[in-house]
């Protein structure tokens, strides 16, 4: 087997040193009834690299790829062009095959990168500090709610109806077992969000308000009033960003008073990957840092006084604090954080702003074009690179019919909110720099046909 270096004679020699007669001796502690006497039945044996590669190549060719189709899906995962150098760098063995940087003297590469990543995320979100990553946006969101609970010692969270329904589901899953209360609602196909509801709901028992920005329908609203009301009642404002590229165009949540900002970092560096691995972003005000979940990298000096970096404040973490830890997270999303950080370094402020402008410009043009189709209405007044259309019929079959025409034409709200009649005709359309105006035209034509 190509991955196993021991030769039969090595094995023999080693058994000799150990003083065992056969390899079975080493499994003597396994009770007889649980020992398998040979390879598990019904499973194939080893295969050549070529055979395995072919198997995957055949499966891969059964999927319709975003790059070779007019493509308009979003809803928390966006198609952006990732520069080739990003993937080159993350494949360097020194990044790819390292563990969490437990021995800082020989992990300065990972540590300095994390320090840079934390700074980039904090600045992007308008916060003081950020951590070294979470699994993804949805789990980061729940962790933020939990953190707000620890800080405020309250257990009622008010969730905006504009929060991604899967993020809401994840929170609900946890809340049903932790005893937290979640105040939730469904969105409406309206140009404005339910911020009025949120303002109403905040009271002295509220631990936090959770608002997505831009929200699930693509709408953008100022968070300042909610922040003010929350702070007035001793509650925190948690902002959730599923499209970080937007922050190259619109104000950072931190600028509007958010206490904790979490997000999905997939847009930068990571790629679509059918949903994972992605990377959770987590930032907050400095005063809350000891309640943060996840790893943190900090600056220090070595025995010679040279600047260096280490994992720090680990007394918050499971390996030190065990059941009293701020979270159970251990392995996070390091390599995706690296990819995110490289992409953002390549962009820089100038590139990020340019990219955001390009996305917004194309999205505006696409929204205008698509809403010219008879019966199609643009729901949004405001949006960045994603908006909601109201179709004259149920959107879900429309999306399938578009796929038959080789157009991946967005995400139906029916998929995200099954059995909610008021949303069934909603179609979420994302337009990034990867879409051309010809793609938009192809989409428009196909949509017209399907709706006819």
């Amino acid at each position: 087997m190509r991955y196993l270096p021991l030769t039969p004679s090595d094995r023999q020699a080693m058994l000799g040193v150990i003083g065992a007669k056969s390899i079975d001796d080493l499994f003597a502690d396994v009770p007889a009834e649980a020992r398998l006497d040979g390879p598990i039945h019904g499973l194939p044996n080893h295969a050549s690299e070529m055979a395995v590669e072919r198997h995957f190549s055949n499966l891969a060719r059964q999927n319709m790829t975003a790059s070779h189709t007019p493509f308009f899906l979003g809803a928390g995962a966006y198609k952006h062009h990732v520069p080739a150098s990003v993937d080159h760098i993350i494949q360097r063995g020194e990044f790819l095959t390292a563990y969490t940087p437990y021995q800082p003297e020989i992990a300065q590469g990972t540590l300095q990168m994390l320090f840079e990543f934390q700074t980039q995320v904090a600045r992007l979100f308008g916060c003081d500090v950020a951590n070294a990553s979470m699994y993804d946006g949805s789990t980061a969101c729940w962790e933020a709610i939990g953190m707000a609970g620890r800080i405020t010692k309250r257990s009622k969270a008010v969730l905006s109806s504009g929060l991604h329904p899967h993020y809401v589901s994840v929170a609900k899953t946890m809340a049903q077992y932790t005893g937290d209360t979640l105040d939730t609602a469904l969105p409406a196909l309206s140009p404005v969000t339910d911020s009025a509801r949120l303002l109403d709901a905040i009271d002295g028992e509220t631990s936090c308000v959770v608002v997505q920005y831009p929200d699930i329908l693509g709408r953008i609203e100022d968070l300042s009033a909610i922040a003010a009301k929350a702070h007035e009642h001793g509650a925190l404002l948690i902002a959730v960003v599923t499209e970080p590229v937007a922050l190259g165009a619109i104000k950072a949540p931190g600028e509007m008073g958010a206490d904790i900002v979490v997000g999905e970092g997939q847009s930068l560096g990571v790629g679509l990957q059918f949903g994972g691995p992605y990377v959770g972003l987590f930032a907050c005000k400095e005063k809350f840092v000891r309640q943060m979940p996840g790893r943190l990298c900090g600056e220090t000096v070595d025995a010679e006084g040279k600047r260096g970096f280490v994992l720090t404040l680990s007394t918050r973490e499971q390996h030190i604090r065990r059941e009293k830890a701020t979270s159970n997270i251990c392995t996070n999303s390091g390599l995706c954080a690296l990819a995110f950080s490289i992409h953002l370094t390549l962009l820089g402020e100038k590139g990020l702003r340019g990219l955001a402008e390009l996305n917004h410009g194309l999205a505006v043009q696409a929204a205008d074009r698509l809403s010219q189709i008879a019966g199609v209405e643009l729901v949004n007044d405001t949006f960045f690179n994603e908006f909601t259309l109201k179709l004259p019929k149920e959107a879900r079959p429309v999306v399938r019919a578009l796929a038959d025409r080789k157009v991946l034409g967005g995400v139906s709200l029916g998929r995200l909110y099954p059995d909610v009649d008021a949303l069934a005709n909603g179609l979420l359309v994302a337009v990034t720099e990867a879409a051309t105006m010809e793609d938009v035209e192809t989409f428009a034509t196909a949509l017209q046909e399907v709706l006819a």
Binding site: F27, L36, G109, L247, Q318, L335, G348, V411
Partner: protein
């Protein structure tokens, strides 16, 4: 002329403590210092070219971002160099032996990387119509079938994002099962030697955590466990093979006792590598076990993730597993069970754990690894992993204290304590000495049940030549630690940095870069 050097500290000839002549740059030939992007980049620099944006009237609702964000950019050449230089300050499996106990730092095959990058997997959106992603769903399903058969379990939840997330999945399934039968319980029992994620997970899910003691052999004390079982105990979390590197001989008896008391058995499967293909956890009565694809099934650790932690489930717990998951139909088509269909197809699910369908990029890699080995190769994996660990155990037990050396053969890892070193010397010094020798140290100070624990997990992908050289180096370093060599106390000497001041880092945390308060006066 130059203001800062690439390391961010002022170059100075002949600075103290250097080995060999100092340099102007601070570099030492191929050991290169590197400044922060904030020190070398500017917000006006970019490493991308973009098409011109169409001129439109913005629809941003007066929320345009005006203030500077403070994100420096680098051109592509500078970017590639920045990260390449940083990378060279890391140790990694690709460089050498990385025997980090409990972490299974095995070789990460490059085929897996290639497969995961095939456009058909890397460039598809999780919410595409399922008709357009049949190949992707097939990968998830095929991997699920392998995991079920390799563990002898009934079902598998594929969405958990890492081991700890898998633990959460298992504990939530237990909680859901108990609530479904109207018997909510409040306590999870965890051995002292357990990994920190175990108690943290139980607490995260709202349980009280109580310790189970170990026997002097390093295994769960069955009698003590039995004594504690009762109507308040929801379940136990046992690691098998355990974190002392031993197989829990009484696993079946533990499961039976817990089941008899109305509880469930969670098994931490981080160490599955030791038994894959030789033992099926399902035969030992467990109800849920996570599998770290980034350990046993070779997906790369990436300097801290991403991982993937599918959880195999017993028949009793399967109905409570999370959504979404894939279903294969008689005609070969695949569908997803999501919110829409869950009430019909999977009504008892405890819900959703993450936004999408799990770590697809890890599934392709793990399946590629599994298919490459096949049933026969995986069995060999376990055998070679255990053989390598025992070889290390027996080759070092004469110079290092091995507290459980008499508890039988070890499994995939060998555990030592720091008893017997010279005064003032401890595990940390051995670890730092190994760095100079060109190795990544073993896991240190874990498990907590052994003084100055050194947990060495060689994995099956190391050759005898490598083990022999490591054993030689280890004996040399241990000998220095016993002799009280002051040069060992100040090790490492050859790494990019000497020992780092962790206390200072924690006392006044500097977690983000800040512009120096005032520019250093020009020299």
């Amino acid at each position: 002329m130059s203001t800062i050097n690439q390391s961010g500290w002022k170059p100075e000839m002949g600075s103290a403590g250097e080995t060999g002549p100092a340099t102007y740059t601070g570099n030492k030939a191929l050991m290169l210092e590197e400044a922060l992007i904030f020190e070398i980049g500017t917000t006006g620099t970019t490493g991308v070219d973009l098409a011109d944006a169409p001129k439109v009237t913005p629809r941003l609702g007066n929320l345009a971002r005006h203030r500077d964000i403070g994100l420096p950019g680098l051109s592509e050449p500078e970017t590639v160099r920045h990260y390449t230089r940083l990378s060279r300050q890391n140790y990694a499996i690709d460089l050498g032996f990385f025997p980090l106990g409990s972490c299974t730092m095995k070789h990460n095959p490059r085929l897996n990387e290639k497969v995961a990058r095939m456009e058909g997997f890397a460039d598809v959106h999780p919410l595409q119509p399922v008709e357009t992603v049949q190949g992707a769903l097939a990968v998830i399903n095929e991997l699920a079938v392998w995991l079920i058969k390799l563990t002898g379990m009934h079902g598998v939840a594929m969405t958990p994002k890492a081991g700890a997330h898998g633990e959460l999945c298992g504990i939530l399934a237990i909680k859901a099962a108990l609530e479904a039968r109207g018997d909510p319980r409040s306590v999870i029992l965890v051995p002292e030697s357990a990994h920190g994620t175990n108690p943290a997970t139980a607490a995260f899910a709202g349980y009280a955590v109580e310790n189970i003691p170990a026997t002097s052999e390093g295994r769960v004390d069955l009698a003590a466990l039995k004594a504690r079982l009762g109507p308040d105990v929801a379940g136990v979390m046992i690691t098998n093979p355990n974190t002392c590197g031993l197989f829990e001989r009484d696993m079946k008896a533990i499961s039976d006792a817990v089941h008899a008391a109305g509880g469930y058995v969670y098994c931490d499967g981080a160490n599955f590598n030791a038994i894959v293909g030789r033992v099926r956890p399902g035969d030992l009565g467990i109800d849920a076990m996570h599998i770290n694809l980034h350990k046993t099934f070779s997906t790369p650790h990436g300097g801290g993730g991403p991982g993937s932690g599918p959880v195999v489930l017993s028949e009793a717990l399967s109905p409570f597993g999370p959504i979404p998951f894939t279903e294969r139909h008689a005609d070969g088509r695949y569908t997803l069970v999501e919110e829409e269909t869950a009430s019909a197809r999977h009504p008892h699910s405890f819900g959703r754990m993450t936004a999408f369908h799990g770590q697809m990029g890890m599934f392709t890699r793990a399946l590629s690894y599994i298919m490459s080995h096949g049933a026969d190769g995986l069995r060999q994996v376990a055998e070679d992993a255990v053989l390598n660990a025992n070889y290390i155990l027996r080759s070092l037990e004469d110079v290092l204290d091995a507290p459980f050396a008499h508890s039988g053969p070890c499994m995939h890892e060998a555990l030592f304590s720091d008893n017997g070193l010279a005064d003032g010397f401890s595990t940390l010094d051995i670890a730092k000495g190994l760095i100079d020798e060109g190795y990544h140290p073993m896991t240190v100070y874990f498990p907590l049940v052994v003084h100055g624990a050194m947990l060495i997990e060689p994995t099956e992908t190391e050759s005898k030549v490598t083990l022999d050289q490591f054993i030689g180096a280890m004996r040399s370093v241990v000998q220095r630690a016993k002799a009280g060599d002051p040069m060992l106390k100040s090790a490492p000497h050859h790494a990019p940095r000497r020992r780092l001041d962790e206390t200072q880092a924690a006392r006044k945390p500097a977690l983000v870069w800040r512009e120096p308060e005032q520019a250093v006066a020009a020299e």
